[in-house]
């Protein structure tokens, strides 16, 4: 999978907020959704501009690792390791948010226990969450998947 698409699948769930902040319009939001689901490529500079908060962190990680910010391992490291730490530190916008809502914004790993059309039920810790499978249509019951907000993002080992 192209790294732009991989990035977008993890980042797209945040686009709703970027839309709500009026940083992008409805057309740009739909373009992102389309690209995330169908895989249409969006240029790297455009993604960096839209998701500038994520890329501030990704660039820092890349510098520390001596790698390019678009290296798949850097993108993966950000979403699987660093993204949640920002939420846990309650920095910036997260400061005043109730913990339950911060939890929904994290990238978490859970076990898919049921598939119903395009909705997966995923057991995360002691809670079951329902998420869309659009980014991971291959996920089946029993698979471990990463979940970000309302989406299963990828099947993991």
């Amino acid at each position: 999978m192209r790294v732009e698409k991989y990035f977008l699948r993890y980042a797209f769930p945040c686009a709703f907020v970027i839309r709500a902040r009026d940083e992008i319009d409805d057309a740009a939001y739909s373009e992102l959704e389309d690209a995330a689901v169908k895989g249409k490529l969006i240029a790297r500079d455009k993604l960096e501009k839209i998701f500038h908060r994520a890329f501030a962190e990704i660039s820092r990680i890349a510098r520390e690792k001596g790698k390019n910010k678009w290296d798949p391992s850097v993108i993966r490291h950000y979403f699987l390791n660093e993204h949640n730490k920002i939420i846990d530190r309650r920095e910036g916008s997260y400061r005043n948010f109730p913990p339950a809502l911060c939890e929904l914004s994290k990238v978490l790993v859970g076990e898919s226990i049921e598939k119903n059309n395009d909705v997966l039920s995923v057991k995360i810790k002691d809670k079951t969450r329902r998420v869309l499978n659009h980014f991971a249509p291959e996920a089946k019951a029993g698979d471990k998947v990463t979940v970000h907000y309302g989406y299963a993002v990828e099947v993991v080992d």
């Binding site: 709500a20 339950a100 809502l101 914004s105 909705v119 907000y149």
Partner: protein
Amino acid sequence: MCLAIPGRITEIDGEKAIVDYGSEKREARLLDKSFKVGDYVIVGGKIVLDRIPEQEALEAIKAWESLK
């Protein structure tokens, strides 16, 4: 940066719900019949994912408004 913004269900028609975010309303799909008009909910990918207690939802909306 990722935040979950709660909205309030103002209409339900079968599987379809209208969710009010104050400045705008959006349509979302309901996955079961447990949701009611007046519930504060989190929507993702046009489906209603979760119900949020009113107190928590109002807190989140207040925090969100202060960012704008």
